[in-house]
Amino acid sequence: MEEGERALVDKARKDAHAFGVLYQQHVGRIYNYIYQRTGSSTDAEDLTARTFTKAFVHLESYVFQGVPFSAWLYRIAHNAVANWHRDRHRHQMVSLDTALDHGVEEGRPESLAQSREEQGVLLDAIRSLPAERQQLLILKFSEGLSNTDIAGIMGRTEGAIKSLYHRTLLALRRELRDKAG
């Protein structure tokens, strides 16, 4: 963790303004991560709020472990999404965003509708991967993070990240082929 970030986190334990700065620095990425995992903007807002509320409550007990502060936030978000998946299984709800993303695209050129449909299938396949593989793809492609940062966030070595990336692409391709029949 950079010294500047560490100092800010220390300050944020007692100082409301510093906590506000920390929030502004991370809210966009955490929301994006949750959105990519859930596919619903309503749920992404709800879970982002839960993530930061939990971070606020537990900030005093946060311990520096030589990784970026965002690693801690991603872990809270990751758990929030896991709980959301568990509850969702119980209620079997379909989000409006998913329905819209995958629904009939009236008034669109056919090719665009087809590409949107393909993208919907791909997103479904990504979301059916184990959580850590989804996390890797989101951090790499949606957030554009370096392997060093991803390794820090996921608590692995860079070599392990490379290997996981390869295995993730293989699993995703297999999943898509299975879906295509």
Partner: protein, 125 residues
């Protein structure tokens, strides 16, 4: 046959390239993948990159949540200020304790002196 580690390296270089970072010395090799396998995975990576388009939260949401959290942080700050003993309170407590201890010592000394005086006068009479 491309070695397993080499495949991992090439795929990651390709991913960095999709992110617009990390110029590749072996770009030529990526442009002409030695195996269909590699080309197929890179093609999939391009689609994944496109599908995972960044979604940022609505401004109204970040402002609302930010305000709520900052208010809570201010309340916590206020509570800690109220609960934490201030310097002046500490000084008053230390001062009072010192006075009490000094008073006790004086009282003890006075009692001892009086007792001795009484016993001395008793012996003389």
């Amino acid at each position: 046959m491309v070695e397993e580690n080499r495949v991992e390296d090439l795929l990651m270089l390709h991913a960095d390239h999709l992110n617009g970072s990390g110029y590749m010395d072996n770009r030529d090799e990526l442009d002409r993948p030695s195996e269909d396998e590699l080309a197929s995975l890179m093609d999939l990576a391009v689609k994944v990159k496109r599908a995972l388009e960044v979604r940022r939260p609505p401004e109204s949401f970040t402002t609302r949540l930010g305000s709520a959290l900052t208010r809570a942080a201010f309340r916590r700050e206020d509570r800690e200020v109220l609960l934490a003993p201030t310097t002046s309170t500490r000084e008053v407590l230390v001062g009072a304790a010192s006075v009490a201890v000094a008073g006790g010592i004086l009282y003890l000394a006075h009692s001892l002196l009086q007792g001795r005086a009484r016993s001395t006068s008793g012996m003389t009479t």
